[in-house]
């Protein structure tokens, strides 16, 4: 009887030690410009590609990334950006931001980086979890119908921390 018990215990311990801990990342996307949308989405996708769990929480201007009407029209944020390739006096002229956005999108296409809406589909298919900020939804008068279908649900800040337990946090 004792022997059997010991064997069972040993077996269990061996099984437990073989269990791998899955790395986990939780990314907060709080900005809605093209150059702030891609980093979070690509980092989350890369995490999934190597078997990590990935959660993305969209809040404030980051809501634009998951807003059906805006997702395909995100702009490159070059005004107020010290890395802007052109002087602000020129960047502020009508049509300049649209031109800069167009150039950035073209370069992305050349590098075979999918448009943001397609990247959201890839993330969903890859098993990443996408959540909208409940408070931001209320602030911008958004309903679930306004959001891309890949968003699982809208959650509170406290819900986010529960889902992010054990994860490495990235704020963008």
């Amino acid at each position: 009887m004792t022997t059997v018990l010991e064997q069972q215990t040993t077996g269990l311990a061996a099984g437990e030690s073989e269990q791998e801990v899955t790395r986990k990342v939780a990314i907060i996307c709080s900005k809605g410009s093209l150059d702030m949308a891609y980093p979070g989405l690509i980092m989350a996708n890369a995490a999934r590609m190597m078997g990590m769990d990935a959660t993305i929480f969209f809040t404030f201007w980051g809501m634009d990334i998951i807003n059906k009407k805006k997702v395909d029209h995100l702009h490159a944020g070059l005004l107020g950006n010290p890395s802007s390739p052109m002087p602000h006096s020129i960047m502020g002229l009508p049509g300049m931001e649209a031109l800069a956005t167009k150039m950035m999108v073209k370069k992305m296409e050349e590098l075979d980086i999918p448009p943001v809406s397609e990247l959201l589909e890839i993330l969903d298919d890859a098993g990443a979890e996408l959540y909208a900020c409940q408070l931001a939804m209320e602030m911008f008068n958004l309903s679930t119908d306004d959001l891309v279908p890949q968003v699982k649900e809208s959650i509170t800040a406290m819900d986010f921390w529960e889902k992010a337990e054990g994860a490495q946090i990235v704020f963008i």
């Binding site: 690509i42 996708n45 999934r48 590609m49 190597m50 075979d112 980086i113 999918p114």
Partner: protein
Amino acid sequence: MTTELLAGLNIELDAEGFLVNADQWTPEIAEEIARRSGIEPLTDRHWTVIDFCRKDAADQGTPPTIRRITKNTDVSTKEIYQLFPKGPGILASRIAGLTKPKGCI
């Protein structure tokens, strides 16, 4: 770098489990690496991915990214994650005897 006995042969693997010498790869070694990564057995669908990876790496000189695999085979993003649940970005290349893919997408 370690030397491991895979499918009856002494095979050199790097720290991340990729084959050091690509010429040593055989389908039996692929089965063994897959088994160690929790995939057993390799199905026809796994082989669709592995065969494409090997062919594309030979053509391009670098292993394909997941986006390239899903765009050039009938395997969808959803399916490739079902086939290689612990990370298709790493596993498909490792099982195919290639190096770690360099792309980000």
